[in-house]
Assembly symmetry: C2
Homo-oligomer: 485 residues x 2
């Protein structure tokens, strides 16, 4: 951390002004950005506030910064490149900036959470940290020896972890596979990135369900893919649901190259595709020759029932690319996921991964391999299911108490989320803003591709004792918005 | 691991034939691929060899496999999709396969190393594992508590690691920066990937030196970038070197958007750009408004002299994107690197990184933060320099003993590599093949963009007692090739 030099001949305020000028010129503080308040900067640099007042006035005189009452001191929003000495036109390297970041309401939720840590978080699709097996992982860290693990890895990932995953898939998910068909990835995210960028080409069309968490990802836009919204089922006159007969036609007509699904405890709806639906879908897509990408992070969370089987377990001809992960059952920060696919696909994606990051760090791979091979893993999953069930029930109770006339929902039997339909038409933006004002965040339905009128609550994320208060605050926000014309 | 079921009514050989058929159909064994030998498979499945003979003959009868004397048993190389039931045309997803993997002689080296672990490795640009501080890292693993670290990370990387890196850069590299201008990456590789894909666009031209390790990366081709070969210096009539006066013109004419450099102990040449050259280059590129990407993994390895300063330490206007890493000084398997750039650039690349893999695993970040903040880091660097110097001298001694009439080289004062010029014209392919036959690998000069007649030896990688033998084997190979017409 830079501090002014009291032994220097130049006065402190000049040193500080020079330093900030330097930071502006070098792009540390880009045009329009907010500088620290005088008080805060004085504290940080260990000088009197009056020194900062002088330094800022110097910079104002140079036209580098401007202060307005109530909006603080900002770098002059002169356009890029016109600041003296700033010769690199960085803005040309920042276009297009929008393809890679979340937008709209999703960004609004993220920014709100960053600004205010006290918000009750019913929005982020992740486990509360108290649901991660921290003690067990610490234990494994202690007994490890990292002797062999510090060089560049096997492109597919550590053989020990791949063997552990192969056993895990066989015993837990009824998926028969082998080490050579498994690629270790940095979570589900990287597996999807690899598929979108290295198996598909810009202009290709993919199909996803509506609603689906896939809509929340800038991934597809970044890869230049077209998205076809797919309606998987329809109800016939006898009230039975079946795969839409139009689906075959629609997939063909739109030249769909790949179908992205999340069949078990879908995010956001919590729905589980029935065995019949799964088999019908495999038949249909095999007939068309379209591979399926199955993301399956939730199947092992089944609260009370048997864990639902992945599509992949019925895939006899290798038409499903299966993606699993520890992020939603163990710890997202480990960044351990896996992809199962025909060998040539795995090999190509492994080469692409070498290009991107030269493989996963060896430490989390070793810890993950030990953990999922140990008895602790089953014990942890058992505990996790009980806790998730308990938190789900707290959420349902609170919804029934505060919102019974206003929302409808299906009770999820696994996963981290509950999907609500609102009985009244409200503006999502207004509702979210009001909720933030009340101290709670949720994820609006449009983030998942649904028109307004829906939203997702995540019961896994908030502290247990905050769920009811969060719902109460949300109810207050909803009432306020409904009463405002 | 699948095994036939002895209680099943179906005979063992039929179960095995069915299982292999399934694996062929699902793409586990793609067309043309080699099946395990009868003996090996019998061992693996715990059956008699005659059972496998029967199973294979069954598959041959179905036309699924074919055996030829001397070349083993292979899956019938029928084209994709014509194997019964195989409905997904995976080949259409495998194009273009070549843009992501190393090619030519580099691939030849890699394949040779994979096939024969006993080869003396003077080729791979990495530390021998005995140069990594394994005991210290194990120690840090033991005392860690991962309480807070298991959720999704800050997009820029752990604040603790970024602070440690900022201090490190200030004290070791004379680079002034702050947490907010640092992005933690999965090594140098990911930093370069992010720049190529998210700051540049397909069709853009970049400039690199000739020779340079950048030529060995499929990175630029994958990102659709054009590469301009740059000659940095020329010698004037007084024998003084200076930046080529044509360079300004050439960079402008070719609309170069970014310059990629490795100024300290360059890979492969080991050269250090002089202070004057560095300042001249900064002036020139700032005048043109072209940013520089500086990769600097080796500067702290300076064997005896003071560590050379990075370009970035003289960069007063933020025109250098600086990339550092622990891969060449601590351990490649940690996958810890960092990128320093103006704040807006760092933020954009951080968003892109979220898209690619949702950030680095928390475990290696925490271990790296502890290690580089500790006294052990300096002690380790001191030891590393001594060992590298010792290994360099062993290499030089052996070269003088066995090859003094045949090669010329500059003595590197840091880094992992030594760059040789051959006095005679030989075919690189023949030389490499002969060297592999003799039991040693090196990296041919064309991998680094140089016409034939050069090669790189890495002294950091082989075991200390193998260096002399490796050179002896190489000398034998070179003599053999020179004597062959």
């Amino acid at each position: 951390m830079w501090k002014p030099d009291r032994k220097n001949d130049s006065p402190l305020y000049m040193q500080i002004a020079d330093y900030i000028e330097q930071q502006i010129i070098s792009g540390e503080f880009p045009p329009g950005s907010l500088l620290p308040s005088e008080r805060k900067l004085a504290e940080k640099l260990d000088v009197n506030r009056s020194t900062i007042v002088l330094a800022y006035s110097e910079l104002r005189a140079l036209g580098l910064i401007e202060s307005r009452p109530g909006s603080g001191t900002r770098v002059n929003s002169t356009k890029w490149g016109t600041i003296p000495k700033q010769s690199i036109q960085w803005d040309q390297y920042l276009q297009p900036a929008n393809a890679v970041s979340p937008k709209g309401l999703q960004k609004r939720v993220r920014d709100a959470l960053q600004q205010d840590a006290s918000l009750i978080n019913l929005a982020s699709g992740e486990l509360n940290s108290d649901l991660s097996p921290i003690d067990e992982i610490n234990q494994f860290m202690k007994i490890q020896k990292y002797q062999e693990m510090l060089g560049y890895n096997d492109p597919l990932g550590s053989i020990k972890l791949r063997s552990a995953v192969a056993n895990h898939l066989q015993s837990e998910n009824q998926i028969q596979t082998s080490n050579a068909s498994i690629l270790i990835t940095s979570g589900t995210q990287q597996a999807l990135y690899l598929i979108c960028h290295y198996l598909l080409s810009p202009g290709d069309t993919i199909a996803i369900e509506d609603p689906s968490f896939y809509y929340s990802m800038p991934m597809f836009e970044d890869a230049g893919l077209r998205v076809f919204r797919m309606k998987l089922e329809q109800t016939d006159q006898q009230g039975e649901t079946s795969l839409s007969s139009d689906l075959h036609q629609a997939l063909k007509k739109n030249r769909v190259k790949m179908i992205f699904l999340n069949p078990n405890f879908q995010n956001p709806t919590g729905a589980v595709m029935s065995e019949d639906q799964k088999l019908d879908l495999l038949l249909l897509t095999n007939d068309l020759g379209i591979p399926i990408v199955e993301v399956d992070p939730f199947s092992l969370t089944a609260f009370q029932s048997k864990c639902p089987q992945p599509l992949k377990s019925s895939d006899s001809i290798g038409s499903v690319i299966y993606i699993g992960s520890l992020s939603k059952t163990v710890a997202a920060g480990l960044r351990i996921g896996w992809l199962v696919a025909p060998r040539l696909i795995v090999e190509k994606l492994a080469e692409a991964r070498q290009l991107i990051d030269y493989g996963q760090s060896s430490l989390p791979q070793q810890v993950a391999a030990e953990f999922i091979s140990s008895e602790h893993f089953q014990a942890h999953l058992g505990r996790l299911r009980l806790h998730l069930l308990y938190k789900r029930d707290l959420l349902i109770e609170a919804l029934q108490l505060h919102l019974s006339e206003l929302v409808t929902f299906e009770i999820p039997e696994g996963g981290l989320h509950l999907w609500c339909e609102l009985h009244f038409k409200v503006s999502e933006t207004k509702l979210l803003d009001e909720a933030i004002k009340q101290g709670v965040v949720f994820m609006p339905g449009s983030v998942f591709g649904k028109e307004t009128g829906h939203l997702r609550f995540t019961f896994a994320r908030p502290d247990t004792d905050k769920i009811a208060i969060g719902v109460q605050r949300f109810a207050k926000a909803l009432h306020t918005v409904l009463q405002t014309p």
